[in-house]
């Protein structure tokens, strides 16, 4: 059913917190995995995911905070992967919902006892930017929430959204069990939500209101963002074509941050952290002699190309990789632009459905018949 959570005194966040509290109180879930505010030093507030069982503590919950330091799908696996487990409500942005769907297919999360609470995303800042904005007194929640109604999503002047958000053409939450539909809504009046009838009844909510402006606003946001995305894809493709990935990623310091924060890169025993790349000293000398010089740590491009091969079909474009890169490389852009091509080639949309098999574990007999022939 579709209903509206009433907002009092223009306090949208209080209304959302109240709704989440009711989910716990009515025992619709045993716990909520939700972004929580916590003091982060120097008067700043940090926003980090936590598993909350005490409804009273949800006064610190803030799923509307425009900051993304973790793709929460990564930790949703930890609280769901095996029994015994509780019934957990996970509050996720659209890209996190998509990541969770991919992780379920990779057997790194189990959806059976998860209640996905999806949220339209108005754009997020990197953690340090979010901190600076607080110092500057520039974090204006009311102004940000107002952009939901028109769909004219924009960061505060003088600050930039994370690069992935700037080109995100899927900010609207899809495929969740409960969806907070921010787009098109006057959030000072109420927060539209769709949820299963039985949950609505338990919460004593009556069906209310139609889709209103949401579809139109989503359509507008999608078209603006798609344009930005296509421009950036064209730019990076041209650069890759001209210079090659070895030049684009030349400044990589091999910290593996991009892999650590990627929700899709889940392997516990990554090849690149194994002994496979530890050789005898003389071996390095021989390699150096062959080309005259040998880059160390070795195999940096191999790292990126292997990651592309292992996960890019599932890349959902959250941009955590770029946010985490100390060398400020356009990791998400390279992965998204490459991923888009493969996803199209294999007719696969990551995050769309748990029913759709991962392209590399399935096959059809009558495909690519020219490959392997002449």
């Amino acid at each position: 059913m579709r209903t509206v959570i009433p907002v009092e005194n223009d306090d949208t966040l209080a209304a959302v917190r109240g709704f989440l509290r009711r989910l716990l109180e009515e025992q619709i879930v045993d716990a909520l995995l939700v972004p929580m505010e916590t003091p982060a030093g120097g008067g700043r507030i940090g926003v980090v995911p936590a598993l909350v069982t005490d409804p009273g503590m949800l006064d610190a919950a803030n799923p509307l905070a425009p900051v993304m330091g973790v793709n929460t799908a990564r930790v949703a696996g930890q609280v769901s992967i095996r029994e015994p487990r509780g019934r957990v409500g996970v509050v996720l942005r659209s890209c996190e919902v998509r990541a969770l769907v991919e992780l379920a297919k990779l057997h790194q999360a189990e959806l059976d006892d998860l209640v996905i609470i999806g949220l339209d995303c108005l754009g997020t800042y990197d953690v340090p930017v979010h901190g600076t904005m607080q110092d500057d007194g520039a974090l204006d929640m009311a102004a940000l929430l107002a952009t939901a109604r028109s769909g004219d999503l924009a960061p505060r002047e003088g600050y930039a959204f994370r690069s992935a958000c700037q080109m995100c053409e899927k900010p609207h939450a899809e495929g969740a069990d409960i969806t907070l539909e921010l787009f098109g809504a006057d959030l000072t009046a109420g927060v539209p939500v769709t949820l299963p009838d039985e949950v609505g009844e338990k919460l004593g909510l009556g069906s209310e209101g139609e889709d209103g402006q949401r579809s139109e606003v989503v359509e507008k946001v999608v078209s603006v963002r798609t344009e930005v995305r296509d421009d950036r894809f064209a730019e990076i493709r041209e650069q890759l074509d001209q210079e090659g990935i070895d030049v684009v990623f030349a400044a990589c310091v091999r910290c593996h941050n991009c892999m650590d924060v990627c929700p899709i890169c889940y392997c516990k025993q990554c090849l690149f952290r194994s002994h496979v790349f530890q050789h005898e000293p003389i071996q390095y000398l021989n390699w150096a002699r062959r080309k005259g010089a040998y880059r160390l740590p070795s195999d940096t491009m191999l790292f990126h190309l292997t990651r592309l091969n292992h996960m890019v079909l599932s890349c959902i474009g959250c941009g955590m990789c770029t946010s985490a890169c100390p060398a400020e490389l356009p990791v998400d852009l390279v992965f998204r632009a490459t991923g888009a091509r493969l996803q199209e080639g294999f007719d696969y949309v990551p995050g769309r459905s748990v029913e759709e098999p991962l392209p590399l574990i399935t096959f059809r007999e009558d495909e690519w018949l020219d490959v392997g022939g002449e």
């Binding site: 074509d241 090659g244 030349a250 195999d299 091969n309 091509r341 007999e365 392997g372």
Partner: protein, 141 residues
């Protein structure tokens, strides 16, 4: 490229088919270029993209993957999965500015020694056309 350029090929050959073909080609003293080094694998489906990428980034001029014809894989579907993996790999190489034509996947049964010799000949010729893998001169990879 000058004609004295001899490309280096690394080949991953399925033991049940293409490797046998290569063996027969040798025993039958078929004439074909000596440019391909052979690594025997249990199935084309066991070739991880990393195996293909490492030599390419090192500067090897071409990588050949040889497997059983579709329908003939001893592990039922290894070669079908290999096909998807290699298609993906080639798309990725092409997307990031690397030459995907240096990677060949060929179905060659144990009985097709002639086809194996022909494939190595064709690949050697094609790589001569292309010239040196630029990665051979790049140290910063």
């Amino acid at each position: 490229m000058t004609s004295d350029f001899e490309p280096r090929i690394i080949s991953f050959l399925c033991t049940w088919c293409t490797y046998t073909a290569a063996d027969t080609a040798g025993i039958s003293r078929m004439r074909y270029p000596p440019n391909a080094d052979i690594i025997r694998v249990m199935c084309s489906g066991s070739v991880d993209p990393t195996y293909v990428l490492r030599p390419l980034l090192d500067g090897v001029d071409g990588v050949l993957i040889g497997g059983c014809h579709p329908g003939d894989c001893h592990y039922q579907s290894g070669n079908y999965k290999a096909r998807r993996r290699i298609v993906a790999l080639k798309m990725i190489l092409d997307s990031v500015g690397l030459d995907d034509e240096r990677v060949w996947l060929r179905w060659i049964s144990g009985a097709e020694a002639g086809r194996y010799a022909e494939t190595v000949t064709q690949m050697t010729e094609a790589l001569k056309e292309k010239g040196l893998n630029p990665m051979r001169q790049k140290w910063a990879v």
